[in-house]
């Protein structure tokens, strides 16, 4: 089945909240992790509403509003959110209060600490009483939301679905995961990321929304032709077969892919999977990446989907994402391939509308 992307909204470590630009003013980060470039929320939220919302919830509501305005849609039929970690800032706030027995628990971080806060706050803001769901499946969170949205469109339960992904990074969580060896030990320069030949990725964060519709219109960016996830493949060959079968299920073969957009994240332990896949399955096809711009997070593929949608609509390929082989012709199909530590693998096939 096909779902049209009729609107997008993204807050990321790049200047993406302004939808008029497209990765033409790249932000350099020299840090342990890449924080979002946030817009002035007063443009999107009433002060009395905003005061009770944490940064992540503000980001979520804002990207939802940017997306709907871009799509020319006031209220969607359904709202779906994927998040790996939810509102960490609020969770930490409430845990600290619980840990410190002498301090009474404040209601606001308690209410906002649940994973489904973002989806529900968007619904409250929009006065949308339709289907509302949140997926929390680590690196499958956003993809699960996309699949749910596409099934709603397929069975005609909805015509317009607002689907998003969102995750934030906070100092405590960063320090804990770094101790496990999943993050790089020292600050890095995002524009020189592949020069760091060390294990571990560099975390980031982001909030992105997409209005998926069953109908093509003048706002349409691209189509999502398929989404697939697979868990902990036993071998490289199994991953390769998954990709080939996925393409075949859409009537495509590797030659039809114009850009192989990967989740390469400068982790020397797991990046070889991407490079080998590019060499074996997509030889001499443009190889692209995005995590030097977004950082690594559970729902990072939202940045890839936003990038793919913009490439297909504008037929412009930002040089900053290309690692190998320039794009020489019209871009019709982009395959997004992401894997986190060779456990959660996902594929999103995005096509020209």
């Amino acid at each position: 089945m096909t779902a049209y992307i009729n609107g997008t909204g993204l807050i990321s470590p790049q200047k993406t909240a302004d939808i008029s630009g497209f990765l033409n003013d790249i932000v350099q980060h020299q840090a342990d992790y890449f924080k979002c470039i946030e817009p002035d929320y007063k443009t999107y939220l009433e002060p009395l509403t905003a005061r009770r919302l944490s940064r992540l919830v503000k980001m979520g509501i804002t990207t939802a509003k940017i997306c709907l305005a871009d799509a020319g849609c006031s209220i969607p039929d359904a709202i779906i959110t994927g998040t790996g970690l939810g509102s960490l800032e609020d969770v930490e706030g409430i845990l600290e209060r619980i840990h410190d027995d002498s301090v009474p628990i404040s209601p606001t971080p308690f209410m906002l600490s649940t994973y489904n806060t973002i989806s529900s706050q968007i619904a409250i803001q929009l006065k949308c009483h339709g289907y509302n769901s949140t997926y929390v499946h680590r690196s499958f969170s956003f993809e699960s939301g996309l699949m749910d949205a596409m099934m709603l469109l397929e069975e005609k339960s909805a015509a317009n679905v607002l689907v998003g992904g969102i995750d934030e990074m906070v100092p405590n969580h960063h320090a804990l995961i770094r101790r496990l060896g999943h993050w790089k030990m020292n600050p890095v320069d995002n524009l020189q990321l592949l020069a760091y030949k060390t294990p571990g990725a560099v975390p980031g964060e982001g909030s992105g929304h997409f209005l998926l519709s069953s109908q093509n219109n003048e706002h349409s960016y691209a189509t999502i032709r398929g989404v697939k996830t697979f868990y902990q493949p036993e071998s490289f060959e199994e991953s390769k077969d998954q990709i080939l079968n996925f393409l075949a299920s859409s009537g495509l073969n590797p030659e039809d892919i114009d850009i192989f957009l990967t989740g390469i994240n400068a982790d020397t332990e797991f990046d070889p999977i991407y490079f080998r896949m590019a060499q074996d399955v997509f030889p001499e096809k443009p190889l692209a990446w995005f995590k030097h711009l977004s950082g690594e997070f559970y729902t990072a593929t939202l940045f890839a989907l936003w990038t793919a949608a913009n490439i297909l609509k504008r037929q412009e390929v930002p040089p900053v994402i290309i690692l190998k082989y320039k794009v020489q012709k019209e871009v019709r199909n982009i395959l997004i391939y992401n894997q986190y530590r060779n456990v959660h693998h996902s594929l999103i096939l995005v096509g020209k509308k």
Partner: protein, 85 residues
Amino acid sequence: MEELINKLKKEVIEQLNLEDITVDDIDPDAPLFGEGLGLDSIDALELIVLLEKNYGIKIEDPKDGKKIFYTIRTMAEYISAHKKA
């Protein structure tokens, strides 16, 4: 009392994250709920937490809240009368 009122205004602004409100914007005799600052029921819970956290005062009967939290001045008077030494 005026000193406590000013202190309380600052604490209310901080606890309720009233970003665009200054101490001078709050009339100590204006209703906190409905009109005035336009606070709601979640703010009422936050104010209960504030009294307990900053002054060690627990409100045993929720019905008293309406009188106690009517204005900044009524809050200050309640704190003065019930603050633990």
